[in-house]
Amino acid sequence: MRLELVKRPQQSTLFAAISPLIALGLTLVAGAIVFAMLGENPFEALYYYFVDPLRELWSLHELAIKAAPLIIIAVGLSVCYLSNNWNIGAEGQFIMGGILGSMLPVLFPTFQGPLVLPLMLLMGLIGGAAYAAIPAILKTRFNTNEILTSLMLVYVAQFFLDWLVRGPWRNPEGNNFPETRRFHPDAVLPELFPADGRANLGIVFAIVAAILVWLLVSRTLKGFEVRVLGASPRAGRFAGFGTTKMVFFAFMLSGALAGLAGISEVSGAIGQLRPTISPGYGFAAIIVAFLGRLNPLGIIAAGFVLALTYLGGEAAQISIGVSDKVARVFQGMLLFFVLGCDTLIHYRIRLVRSALKSDAAAVAKAAEPASEGA
């Protein structure tokens, strides 16, 4: 017996529209089961996880701080994924943007003034874009799989950062702690409403980036090129659009935005470089991009949802004493249900009871012995 996916002749527009909400609902149900198995009251646990963090103003500020990098990265990734380029290495580009952007305040702490911050942001953009160009070059020159190369480069970036903060960039006055010197005030991203909480300019960048990319994708010829090459590459070549150029465009745009998120995080929320500057934003942003249906405006909403899983994880750790790894579990379940819902909207599952050895499809099946075993 085996399962087969059969394409549905028509897709329900209603279900296609509400599929992210269904996925969210299923995640909550599955989460309740997980909490129950951990021996907690599931309703109480879900309350602490998803509602409690929204009750206070300072906490909403924290939500914005977590949502900003997720949205900025995911918006870039949406362009990448729409064009059928699979950049899984935003985490690495985030780190490289953070490192290059931090160069000024770390290596030239005496250079101060209003120019510092814009320059840092610019270098963050450049750092992320340049790092994302590596898998693009490998893909276009050597036809390597960008999923693997971009993912592997994440670990390179992580170890490079680790080496920098323990070695050459370590704070000389920092008692040998593995971190750089703290940024001077001119190099710190300003807070929006310092009286209420820590939220900084990052969330503004996120909203602006989302709106700009939305305009780009839906209203311009370049966006048309992205969508055509992603959905029908052959039609894209017929239109005269260059595939190679698009690989670079998509990777470097998403890399630049990941780099911007990186330097914003370092100069805003952290204020210095440390061995770890991201709780997996680059990976979580992949979930954000899909939960937002690769639409930059949807991504804004999805970014806040994922930010809540981070905050909730911390809150649940404090109030009911479960591991903060629960946050990762929720993120994983969310991605699983989003992709599952999308698949089941386009396909239905059919149970095939017996192996049909000699039907017309036998020719095709014989080529894949793996499916014969059923």
């Binding site: 311009t220 370049k222 959905a231 005269g240 039907d359 095709a364």
Partner: protein, 524 residues
């Protein structure tokens, strides 16, 4: 044939009897209460346009689709055909229009894949060889499928089917990939099979061969059976009327007004094969002048696709002068630059090549026009002027009579014929100096096909050059001022339409007269 018919009626139950067979896809009734009887020892034609429901009917008979309603009787017994393997056990064999062969395997290995797993390959080889010679379909079982011509590949499919000794053989559009001479051979084989008492269900939309070969015909339109007849008692036009439901008129071709000015010049175009099974192009010379329609005939897979890519600029050449468009060297230019020189292109595949399936018609307009009509369609900052592309799309929809269900539907939502009318109209709307079309009416219903052909002829008579690549010889004879033949990546010298005969073209399609290519350079 009167004998065949009467004997069928007296000799007990019919081989196959179908009553009220219905298949519904969503809201579409692909087959609606279809009745069909096939007697022993007859060749029965199933006629109908694309989309009439022939394939759906046949898939239900072969067990790959499950009917929603209706009864199938085999030798008088009602049966449920749940799978192709069950159809084979009953004695129904099928030769598909699109072959399911592995190119990297030999003919015998391909046959073995569909038989019992324990038969040794040498036995299959020997059986296949014997069978193929006895039916006049010579076949080398050790040959790699990738090296075989389309006609030979079809033989593998037929032999594979015959090895299972079926009583009913279903052939789906078997001659669409054959030269006229190869088709003749196939007909002889089919007549022999009939003489042995086997029944054949012959699916086609080619009226001449149906009239020549078949004892009875069942005609389908829009999922329903609209008539049974003896095709030999009918004329092609009466059959066509039953198929289409209305009179179809041929395109009118006023005398050529070729001015002599060369619009497209191809000089010694060669191209290495792009993949293991694609065809190299060998030293092609051709000249298409203003005012003329030049047709390129050929059996599918002889380099037409590769040729189209080379001419359109999707594949660029190393030498700039291999392709000249309106006197300009275009060999090294990409497709957009060639369009700017006044060329327009319509590829064979509508969905996924000529149009992006999930995009609206107005967006698909942008696909081939974003460069040539930049001023009209693209505003400052690269923003698309959506009002402009929508009104242009509506203009094309009106000019070409594109029928659609929504004001600006996705390309995939249109029927093949209507999408093709839109794609052709998209290029005609520019009034291109050169129009290159690959398979202009492939899979298009007769009404739309006539309209497309007429539009292309009118474009040429208006002073443009039109190059038509087609497998449909009737179409080429109807449209072209001269016909060249592509075989094995080589192009013959164009034959003026007054001198072209079906036999002459057919011989060239089969590869006769090699080594003529240089002559065409002088006439060019």
């Amino acid at each position: 044939m009167v004998f065949v018919q009467s004997s069928a009626e007296t000799a007990g139950p019919n081989l196959l009897e179908v009553r009220g067979l219905t298949k519904i896809f969503g809201t579409l009734k692909a087959c609606d209460g279809v009745d069909l009887t096939i007697a022993k020892g007859e060749i029965h034609a199933l006629l109908g346009e694309n989309g009439a429901g022939k394939s759906t009917l046949v898939k239900m008979l072969f067990g790959s689709l499950e009917p929603n309603d209706g009864v199938i009787s085999w030798n008088g017994e009602p049966v449920t055909i749940a799978s192709p393997s069950m159809a084979k056990k009953l004695g129904i064999g099928m030769v598909f229009q699109h072959f399911s062969l592995f190119e990297a395997l030999t003919a015998a290995e391909n046959i073995a894949l569909s038989l019992q797993a324990d038969t040794p390959l040498s036995t299959i080889s020997a059986k296949a060889r014997a069978l193929s010679y006895s039916y006049g379909l010579p076949l080398d079982p050790e040959a790699l499928v990738g090296d075989l011509s389309v006609g030979e590949r079809q033989r593998i499919e037929i032999i594979r089917c015959l090895l299972q000794t079926p009583d009913l053989i279903i052939l789906d559009e078997p001659t669409s990939v054959l030269t006229p001479q190869e088709a003749d051979k196939l007909f002889e084989t089919l007549e022999r099979l009939r003489a042995e008492g086997k029944s054949i269900l012959y699916i086609s939309h080619r009226l001449d061969e149906v009239r020549r070969l078949c004892d009875r015909a069942t005609i389908m339109r829009h999922g329903k059976v609209v008539g049974h007849c003896d095709p030999r008692q009918e004329t092609p036009s009466s059959l066509a009327r039953m198929m289409v439901g209305s009179e179809v008129k041929n395109a009118e071709r006023p005398p050529s007004a070729a001015s002599g000015e060369e619009i497209l010049g191809i000089c010694g175009l060669s191209r290495k094969p792009a993949g293991p099974f694609s065809m190299p192009l060998k030293n092609i010379w051709l000249s298409v002048r203003a005012g003329e329609v030049l047709g390129i005939a050929g059996v599918a897979g002889n380099g037409q696709g590769e040729f189209f890519e080379a001419v359109s600029g999707e594949a660029r050449q190393e030498a700039g002068d291999a392709i000249r468009i309106r006197g300009q060297q275009a060999g090294r230019l990409g497709i957009s630059a060639r369009r700017l020189l006044g060329a327009a292109f319509v590829p064979e595949e509508r969905l996924g090549h000529g149009a992006a399936p999930r995009m609206k018609l107005s967006e698909n307009l942008l696909l081939s026009r974003h460069r040539t009509d930049r001023k009209a369609f693209i505003g400052t900052g690269g923003f698309v002027k959506s009002g402009a592309i929508q009104s242009a799309a509506q203009r094309i929809i009106k000019a070409m009579d594109v029928r659609k269900s929504a004001p600006d539907p996705e390309a995939a939502a249109l029927s093949g014929g209507n999408l093709q009318k839109f794609i052709i109209g998209r290029e005609l709307d520019r009034q291109p100096a050169l129009m290159v079309v690959n398979q202009p009416t492939w899979g298009v219903d007769a009404g739309a096909a006539a309209r497309i052909r007429q539009a292309l002829i009118e474009l040429a008579r208006g002073g443009s050059a039109v190059l038509v690549i087609s497998q449909d010889l009737d179409e080429l004879f109807e449209m072209s001022d001269a016909i060249a033949v592509m075989h094995n990546g080589e192009l013959s010298k164009p034959i003026p339409i007054a001198e072209a005969t079906l036999e002459k073209i057919g011989l060239l399609m089969g590869g006769a007269e090699p080594g003529h290519v240089h002559v065409s350079a002088e006439t060019a």
